[in-house]
């Protein structure tokens, strides 16, 4: 408990609230970096996932590639990209985008696939165009699973952004690594606690979002999402 006391003391120490290494600044960096990464990954994965989900083509390929991507340890990818492009924020952006794509992609196409075929056929038979079917039927109905995928991806990225500090001066992970280097356990532990709190807070926020995006009338479908939820951050951490 003594260790925790020193960590709490470190978190509350006013000296850690000024300058370029201030805690709020680091948290902001961590969150901003993670959100941008998830946005880039979404821009790639959501249209692709919708295409796969709507046409039903390329599913096998998507499953295999995302499965393969998952087996790759992030630290390896991170250090490799860092050697290619140099120390800095580019390597974490590349490595973590690659990491965030599989869960979002899976969320997008499984969201479409989980929709009752009869619903889609009904939409088609009342005269909706393919684009209208996607926009007015498949996207809203697939939203809970997509949010589930985004939730996994975000948590994974938040977790791995900690590792990113190994190759770049970025985010909360900085405290962990500088604490390790100087054998300052209070800093290390304090930083760890902050990352854990951040991850749990986001987990909570996503749980709320997921509850609210379910279209009325299909909330019974929520039963399918918990499986997604377990998927936070395996490869990530």
């Amino acid at each position: 408990m003594n260790l925790f006391a020193s960590a709490i003391q470190w978190i509350l120490d006013p000296a850690n609230y000024v300058g370029l290494n201030a805690i709020p600044l680091r948290i902001g960096q961590h969150v901003a970096f993670s959100l941008v990464t998830v946005l880039i990954a979404s821009a790639i994965a959501i249209p692709l996932g919708y295409l796969i989900g709507h046409t039903g083509r390329g599913r096998g390929l998507a499953v295999t590639t995302s499965g393969g991507l998952r087996a790759i340890p992030t630290l390896g990818l991170l250090t490799l990209v860092a050697l290619w492009v140099g120390i800095g924020v580019v390597a974490p952006y590349v490595a973590l985008t690659v990491l965030a794509i599989p869960p979002i992609l899976a969320g997008a196409y499984t969201g479409f696939e989980a929709i009752d075929r009869r619903t889609v056929d009904a939409a088609r038979s009342v005269g909706m165009s393919e684009l209208q079917i996607v926009r007015k039927v498949e996207v809203p109905l697939g939203l809970p699973l997509l949010i589930g995928g985004l939730r996994s991806a975000t948590l994974q990225v938040i977790a791995t952004a900690t590792l990113a500090a190994y190759v770049a001066d970025l985010g909360l992970g900085r405290y962990l690594f500088s604490g390790l280097k100087t054998r300052d356990y209070a800093e290390m532990l304090g930083g760890s606690i902050l990352v854990i709190l951040l991850a749990l807070t986001l987990e909570g926020i996503f749980a709320l979002i997921q509850r609210f995006v379910v279209p009325r009338g299909v909330s019974g479908r929520l039963g399918t999402t918990p499986a997604l939820r377990t998927g936070s951050a395996t490869a990530a951490r």
Partner: protein, 225 residues
């Protein structure tokens, strides 16, 4: 390639370290998750508590968890034990839900028939429910095995040696081949473990051979994320 050939001994040594770190969590999490999953499924209250706890635990990033553990359970800081315990916890967090889902997937009629034939709750669990949820458990364990092998590498940044050490060392010394060798070896090891589990599944559950070659269901594919 020259680096790889000149350092085969090193790669092999790190691979062995990696195996030593990844096997205990995989085995332990199964042994612990089965009774926990059973309890979670059995009572409404325990289901909520255990599954929510598992979900939250799973959301905790690994490196911070590894660093916090010594303060919680009193292991020495930077000991390999912290990595093993952290990975066991993640395995449990994932498997508890899988075990509960797996037991849920057993047909209620089958369960009742077993009771009607005179199985006690205990023997029914071991001889009927557990084997029948086997395919679901196997799919879960495959995800656990692959993710554990991948996560072991994280320990390298705090000095716990594994194939991940090839990443940190390669990065610090600027040897690309070393990092690539580490990546290939880690993925190969993950595939090896995965294959071993599939094989074990075939041997232990011969009845699944024809119907469905053990393969993670769609939700598990997603949860592997």
């Amino acid at each position: 390639m020259t680096w790889v050939l000149a350092n085969l001994g090193l790669i092999w040594a790190r691979t062995l370290d990696h195996v030593v770190l990844s096997v205990p969590p995989i085995v332990l999490c199964f042994v612990i998750a089965v009774p926990l999953g059973w309890v979670a499924r059995r009572y409404r209250v325990s289901r909520g508590v255990i599954l929510t706890g598992a979900g939250l635990l799973y959301a905790v990033p690994s490196l911070p968890l590894i660093l916090v553990l010594p303060a919680v359970i009193g292991t020495s800081a930077l000991s390999p034990l912290n990595v093993v315990i952290a990975l066991t916890l993640y395995g449990i967090a994932l498997m508890v839900r899988v075990v509960a889902d797996g037991l849920d997937s057993v047909d209620a009629d089958v369960r009742q028939s077993a009771s009607a034939m005179g199985y006690s709750t205990w023997s029914r669990f071991w001889q009927v429910e557990l084997p029948l949820s086997g395919p679901v458990l196997l799919a879960g364990m495959r995800v656990v095995a692959v993710s554990t092998v991948s996560l072991v590498t994280v320990g390298a940044v705090i000095g716990v040696q594994s194939l991940g050490s090839l990443f940190t060392d390669g990065f610090q010394r600027g040897i690309q081949a070393e990092i690539i060798a580490g990546l290939v070896a880690t993925v190969a090891l993950a595939l090896l473990f995965d294959g071993a589990l599939v094989l074990a599944g075939r041997l232990l559950m011969p009845w699944t051979r024809r119907v469905t070659p053990a393969k993670p269901s769609v939700p598990l594919e997603v949860s592997a994320a």
